[in-house]
Amino acid sequence: MADLTTAIAVKESTLTTEHALSPDSGPVSDDMVFQTRDLSVYYGDFRAVRDVELAIPERQITALIGPSGCGKSTVLRSFNRMNDLIPTARVDGTLLYRGVDLYADRVDPVEVRRRIGMVFQKPNPFPKSIFDNVAYGPRIAGIRKKGELNDIVEASLHKAALWDEVKDRLSASATGMSGGQQQRLCIARAIASSPDVLLMDEPCSALDPIATARIEDLMAELKNDYTIMIVTHNMQQAARVSDRTAFFTAEVDIHTDQRTGLLVEYDLTTTIFSNPADERTENYITGRFG
C-alpha cells in the first residue's frame, strides 16, 4: 500500500478537490482516496448514471443515497471494477484511486479488488467453514502458513465484532449462522485481505433492526482503519453513520427518453440533512418523493 501511496502523492497534489466539495466542508482530512470527474456508467448503449463528481475522503464514511434506479449501486460497483463482471458495462470519464486511473489499461481489476473490498446486499458467505471464509482472501493472496492465517482470521473476526460468538466453532459451516452474523462474517472476509477501502452495497437491507444496529456500530469502529463507502436505502442510516452524503436521483433524458441516474448533491451529511442546497435533495429527505 505504502509504495502505491507515495508514488501517487505527487499526482494527488495536482488534483482539485474543491469543485466536488464546497471549500469549507473538509473537517477531518483532505486526503482523498477517490476522485471522479464526469463519471458515467453505461450498460451497452444505455447510460445508467451520469455526471458523477465525487471526492471520497480517507477514513470517513461516505453514504450514497437516492431512490431506486438512481444508479447509486452502479456507481459503487464501478469503484472496485465489480461492474467488469457484466459484459456490456463500461465506464466513461475519470475515476482516480489515490491519483491512479482505475480504468487505465495497465490496471488489473483483481489487484484493485484486493485493495478495495466489498460487502454485498445479501450476505453471501461461501458454503465453507467460518475459518475458510475469512481465510479465503489471504489464501488466494498466497499466504499458506497456518500460524499466519490463524492470526489474520482471529484479527479479522475481532474487527468484525464476531470473534466472541464464533471462536469455539470456527470449523462449523458459515451457512448455519444467522443473517446478521453472516453479514459480519462477510465484513471479516473483506477485512482479512487488508484492504484500503470497504464498499458496502446496502449491507443491512436483509437484516433485522438489531443486526442492523450492530453493523452500524461496527462501521463506526472500522472507519478508524478504513475508508468506507455505503449505499443505503435508509436515510436514517445514512444520517446516523456517514460523514458525507451523496444524493442521487434519476431523471428522464428528453433526447433519448431514457431514465438516467445522476448525482444531485454531495456534501457533509449534516449539511445534506439540515440545509440541502438542491430542492430535489430536500424533497427526498423530507419524504416528499422517492
Binding site: E111, V119, F120, F126, P127, Y136, A174
Partner: protein, 343 residues
Amino acid sequence: MALGTIGDQDVASRVEATIQRRGRDVRGTGFRFALFAALGISTLILVILLVDVLTDGWPVLTDRLGDFWSGTLRSRSSDDSLGISQGIVGSFWIAVFVAVLAFPIGIAAAVYLEEYAPRNWFTSVLDIVVRNLAGVPSVVYGLLGLFLFVKGTAVTNWFVDRVNNRWNAWYGEDLIELGQSTLFAGGVTLAVLVLPIVIITAAEAIRAVPQSLREGAYGVGATKWEVIKSQVLPFAAPGILTGTLLALARAVGEAAPLILVGAITGRLAPRDSMFSGLEDFFGQFADRFTAMPIVIVGWVQNSGRDEGFGPAAGAAIVVLLVFVIIMNSIAVLLRNYFEKKRG
C-alpha cells in the same frame, strides 16, 4: 378503538353461507387418481419386466452363478463354461474409456460454455447443437464410430500409424489393425456418445451456482480461474457428479452403437494374461471385444435355435441391471453427501 362484539346470529349465518363446503371436489379427486394411475402404470411395467427377467434367469442365477460369472461365450448353451466374463470385462473397459475421455472433456467444455464463452449468436448455436447431439439416436453414433475408429479416415490412419510405429519399435509388431473392430473403437464411440449429455448436465449444474457466490470471491480479489476452482466447481459438484454417473450408466447399457462398431456376439477367444505385461494390457484394447448388452443380444438371438440361451440372457440382464442400479445409487449417495457438505 373498542373491540366489536362477535356472535351476532344474523351475521354468523350469512358468513356461514359463504364459506361452507360445497359438495365433494370431484374433479380434483379425479385428477389425483389420474396422476396416481400414470405413476402406477410406469411402475407396473417395470415390475413386470423385472419379474419376467428374473424368472427366465432364475435357474442360471441360483444353480451356477459362479461359473456363469467366470464363464465365456460358447456356441452351445449346454456348455458348462458358458458365461459373461468377457462381457463384464468389455463393459468395464468401456466405462473406463467413458470416465477417462468423456468426463474431463465434457466438464471442461461446460465450464467454457458457461463461464468463458461470450454470449453471442455463435455460442447460442453451439448450445443448440450440443443439445441436439444429446438427442441423436445412438445408432448414428455407432456409424460415426464405424467410420472414424474402425474403417479409418485420414486422421485416424495418421494416428494409427504413429501408434504402430512406436509399438513396432518396442515389440516388433503392429498394435492396431485398421478394419478390425477393437475395444478401443467401442470405448471411444461410447465416450463420444455420452459427451453431449455430460456437457449439458454439467452446464446446468454450473448455471445453478448463485451469482452472489461468484461476486463474493471476486470481491476479495480472486481471479476468474480461482473463482471457478474454489467456488463454482465445488458448488456444482453434486450436479455434475450425478449427471456424469447417469451418463456412465447409459453408456454401459448401450448395445446399438457397439453392434455397428463390431462388438462380437459369437465366440471370442479369451485373453487370459490381461495383466501380465504392458503389451498384453494395451493389446487388449486393440483386440476384438464384447460387452454386456452385446452378450445379451447374442443370446436372445440364439434362443430360437438353442432354448438354453434364454435363461442365460435373463441372468445376464439381471447382472447388468444390478450394475446399473449400483451406479445410479452411488450417484444419488454422492450427490446427497456433497449437498450436505455444501450446506
